[in-house]
């Protein structure tokens, strides 16, 4: 079985996430795109683990899930604070820091 299709799929997912971060305005959506990038990496890790026949990549995928969960906690806390202050989660509205 070739793992190439999985790698191609993971790179497509990663690119979608990347483009999403750069183009979307809502902080929550930007954050979801970052999570998509992490999950694309997970897919690549598991596919490469299959290709090499060792478990390093699968173990790494578990660690990445835990890290992503921790990141969600911190990220949503920060975005919530911003939203409560400004009544908006748009990344364009937060523009006090310039020049």
């Amino acid at each position: 079985m070739s793992v190439t299709p999985y790698i191609v799929l993971s790179s497509i997912l990663f690119t979608i996430g990347c483009v999403g971060v750069l183009t979307r305005r809502n902080a929550i959506v930007v954050f979801m795109c970052v999570e998509l990038m992490l999950n694309a990496s997970n897919l690549a890790l598991v596919a490469f683990a299959r290709q090499h026949g060792n478990l390093d990549g699968q173990i790494a995928a578990f660690f990445v899930m835990v890290v992503a969960a921790a990141e969600v906690v911190v990220g949503l806390a920060i975005i919530m604070t911003i939203f409560r202050t400004r009544r908006s989660a748009s990344v364009d509205d937060a523009s006090l820091l310039k020049y």
């Binding site: 079985m1 790698i7 993971s10 990663f14 996430g17 990347c18 971060v21 902080a27 930007v30 954050f31 970052v34 990038m37 992490l38 694309a40 990496s41 690549a44 890790l45 596919a47 490469f48 299959r50 290709q51 090499h52 026949g53 060792n54 390093d56 990549g57 173990i59 790494a60 660690f63 990445v64 890290v67 921790a70 990141e71 911190v74 990220g75 806390a77 920060i78 975005i79 604070t81 911003i82 409560r84 202050t85 400004r86 990344v91 937060a94 523009s95 006090l96 820091l97 020049y99």
Partner: protein, 447 residues
Amino acid sequence: MNLSLTGVLVQAASTPPTFQKPHIEYAQLWPMLVVFGVACLGVLVEAFLPRERRYLAQTVLTLVGLVAALVGTCLIARDLTSLGGVARGLIAAEGTIVVDGPTVFFWGLILVFAIGGVLLFAERRLEGGLSAFAGQAAALPGSEAERQASSQGLDHTEVYPLLLFAVGGMMLFPAANDLLTMFVALEVLSLPLYLLCGLARRRRLLSQEAAMKYFLLGAFSSGFFLYGVALVYGFAGSMQLSAINEAVRNDTQNQTLLLIGLGMLSVGLLFKVGAAPFQAWTPDVYQGAPTAVTAFMAACTKVAAFGAMLRLLYVAFGSDRWTWQPMLWVVAVLTMVVGAVLAVVQTDVKRMLAYSSVAHTGFLLVGVLGVQSASDMTSGQVTSLQAVLFYLTTYGFAMIGAFAVVTLVRDSGERPPSSPVGPASVVGRRCWAGSSPSSSSRWPGSR
């Protein structure tokens, strides 16, 4: 391949499972464990101690933990076993952590700067008995709840455990010997810093905005780092830096995976050090974060990230240096130019210091891309590693000092009587100009 893998699985299922206990070298790793342990204790203190006693308890606990870890680091540095030649150290925790000369040096450096950071965190005289951190981060800026929290003299003492968790991650980052440990350490050091940035008592909107920018861009860059990890793992078939080095030397196929993976890993690390195409967060975060946090972050994050960069580029990709050196040439030149030029036009002193730190990153990258190892040189000459370590030492002290001066200067421009602001700012100012205190003779223009 499928058949052979199934065969292995069947064989594994038929033999009785044996579990081998992993061997952890506690004697060499305990400074890091002390830092993480004291951080957990700090969380317990936060949960069980009455509010008025927390400030003192947390400050003392944190300082004791950091000093104990520093003493431990010195003891470990003394007793490092020789590996032959100039190299000393050992590979610990089943090959995931290296405790060698540079690691111990980074640990010492990070701990010293962290102690300075804690002292700045604990400063309460400047705000009239209140710390620089928000009384209640959940209270809306300008609301009744915030006024109440501030009039009752509330404090967020959670900042001390957060600082310790960040310090633990920073100690793990340059010591990591495989890519997975490096990624976990990167996140462990980043996540507390995102939170610390958003906890300023004054100018809370700026502070929250800085936290959000830092968080979104930081998470974005760690996404790149992780995809780089996946691709390099796909290339080498292992996460271990030594195995990657072997694969880089031997393999002549699949160079694409290696190239893209190396590029993405570099993006993650260059973001953390604040190098030129990825420096945009630096001024915003340095300005918005509480000044004590900025001082801690500017010194310690850069030390840890350069440690990890040296380990990754020298140990794992040292044989492939012709690939990454041209990239670093461009980045280093760009970083120095952008940092130096934009620092001149700033009106806010914290933003100016931020751009100055960007320029410093450029100088440090020049050191990194030299790759002069001890074997290439006659004895007595300075290797790239030594040069970078020396620069990081002087840079860190100058940054902590410079931001400590900034905390003393209030909006009105008054300063507390008999403060040590004079000599500190003179030393600091010479360093902002792009020269470290001991190298001014080589940079006459900086005086």
